[in-house]
Homo-oligomer: 348 residues x 2
DNA sequence: CTGAAAGCGCTTACAG
DNA sequence: CTGAAAGCGCTTACAG
């Protein structure tokens, strides 16, 4: 570890006395803007500001409980998206020297009683709940002492903090992007009943609703799972029942894995991407880059969720519960244009 | 100002040596849970933790520019809601010794060029934009050096931070509350084209969509403005065209001022609240409490928006722009039950 | 508005 | 895991 930056390092870098640095950093004397700026720049450069901030948060949150169900707890990078989130969250805890205690319930739900017991036992200052759409859970824990945050989930009753990607807005933005390319007949390929998929679908519908374009009939295509092989089977089925040329010029998929399955089906049916139809994924998964052509997609900042979640837990510790409303945070996503999106075919 | 708390104060309160306090506060030695807890409690009690946190943020944000248009800048508490927000924001800047520079454009829009010039001139570290639905503005400023946050607004392109009440979720929650009271035929009284109203309407529509209940025809009632006198005139008109008993058992209003106007109209038409119909407002403004009966409403934490906005601006200064996604923060609202909501009349 | 110098408060190496 | 003590780093009262 590099030696911890001191005020003296800043004063040398900025060419002023250490006392001047101290004044600027604490607002204890009014120093000229020019010198102030120079000192602040040096303070940032040496890492002094970051160090001070880090220190201020230590001890606010010595222990955090990580609650998940077996089903939602990714054991490998097969479940790439939650894997990325979980690892970034763990790393962030390490950076802040927070002790992280996992509390994993078997099955596919977190059992409220188990979580309450674990809180009783470990007395954590914060609890992070992994993407669980289980609302009795919130009833059971929102009033307890530790601060609560849900990672990649929602709380419609707005009683606990949540952090998730802005799925709905991002899907709307994605659809708008396809509109801007000239597409008018876009299909949305979606699966399952998980909230994430619901929100992405809502964004798609909203984009049509707020545009001047009419959504074509049959534009929502449901597939069974997000596993590419299954999606390919489903889509080949769907394709065989469609007229040619296809009544859609673009497929906006609720996940990259779905998009990869769709691309395989299109290839098998002899339909060219992006010449005949465009395909747009969602998640920005590694394997998307290796498709041929490489998959256009929506980048979702899963690696930032942990950082934001811990900031929320820390902030919550600095304010009394009844003076602080729950925060629902959505993180901005962005379109990543690669090879599978283009303007619609002339005849399409 | 009280004397600044020192480590010694904590050590006395917690009955340990100052060095032990230092270890716990910096994580430099592992101290028993019991002693740790005692020290942390004392550290919080003396205000030491809060002091350290406050100090860590000084100098991150010496100057903030407050951008608004004349029309959006409340000059008195006639515009109670934004007035509350603005004052709390100013107070929060004072607490953090941030110099706040107002930049008010005439008319009802912030002019992007003016804001860019003001940024050039004052070189603020942060810019707070007051509730402006003007998206060219974001194009013009999102890439500049200072961090940007929009107060009580949205950014569908998800490029800058925003803080606003969770209008949509809150309206959905409000409607669910009326469902739970037994109401099935609820009207939503709304006005204008401002985004806030749109979101509240969306929440109302969504509550019906996600419920088992059918939304009755004519359930969206548009009034001209939110001024109670005008609303009363509009509603008397509307009431005169309705059969008795009314086809609705509850009025969910997009603002308290609207609800106050609705109540006056109902009184004039001899319809009793809450016996004949329930009325629910939105905003929790002071004058609602003085109605007869006192108005049930949705509390909107406007006074917290400034705090959250400054936290976002500060946090943005600690991370490089390209490593940090924009945050869209919505604050939780809650139902405040007073005298104007009850179960529907038996015959209703 | 800046800097030299005194001294306060915090950290840390060490003994138990 | 805790505490007494040395000394480092930061703050502040003051001169210019």
């Amino acid at each position: 570890m590099a030696k911890s930056p001191r005020i003296q390092d800043i004063s040398e870098l900025a060419n002023v006395a250490p006392s001047t640095v101290s004044h600027v950093l604490n607002g204890t004397a009014s120093i000229s803007d020019e010198v102030s700026e120079r000192i602040l720049a040096a303070a940032r450069e040496t890492g002094y500001l970051a160090k001070r901030r880090r220190k201020a948060a230590v001890a606010l949150l010595p222990t955090v409980l990580l609650a998940a169900s077996e089903a939602n707890f990714p054991k490998s990078d097969r479940n790439y998206v939650s894997w990325t989130m979980l690892n970034a969250f763990r790393q962030e805890c390490r950076n802040r020297s927070i002790r992280l205690i996992p509390q994993i319930d078997p099955g596919d739900k977190i059992i409220p009683e188990n979580l309450v017991n674990a809180i009783e036992r470990h007395k954590p200052q914060g609890v992070a709940i992994m993407q669980d759409d289980n609302y009795e859970l919130i009833d059971a824990v929102h009033d307890l002492d530790p601060s609560i945050v849900i990672l990649s989930g929602q709380d419609p009753s707005m009683r606990v903090d949540t952090v998730s990607p802005g799925n709905r807005f991002a899907a709307q933005m994605a659809t708008d992007y396809l509109f801007r390319l000239g597409h008018r007949r876009i299909a949305h390929v979606t699966y399952g009943t998980r909230l994430i998929g619901q929100h992405r679908k809502m964004g798609f519908l909203e984009a049509y609703r707020e545009s001047a374009h009419r959504m074509p009939p049959g534009a929502i295509i449901d597939v069974e799972t997000f596993r590419p092989e299954v999606v390919t089977r489903n889509m080949l089925n769907w394709l065989s029942a469609q007229p040619r040329p296809l009544p859609f010029t673009a497929f906006f998929c609720a996940a990259d894995n779905v998009a990869i399955g769709v691309m395989a089906a299109l290839a098998e049916a002899g339909i060219k991407v992006p010449e005949d139809v465009s395909v747009l994924g969602f998640d920005n998964v590694e394997s998307g880059k290796r498709q041929n052509p490489p998959l256009s997609t929506i980048h979702v900042p899963m690696e930032e969720i942990g950082h934001v979640a811990l900031n929320l837990l820390e902030e919550a510790r600095t304010l009394p519960k009844n003076e602080r409303s729950a925060r629902r945070v959505e993180l901005g996503c962005r379109v990543v244009v690669r090879g599978t999106t283009a303007g619609p075919a002339r005849s399409g």
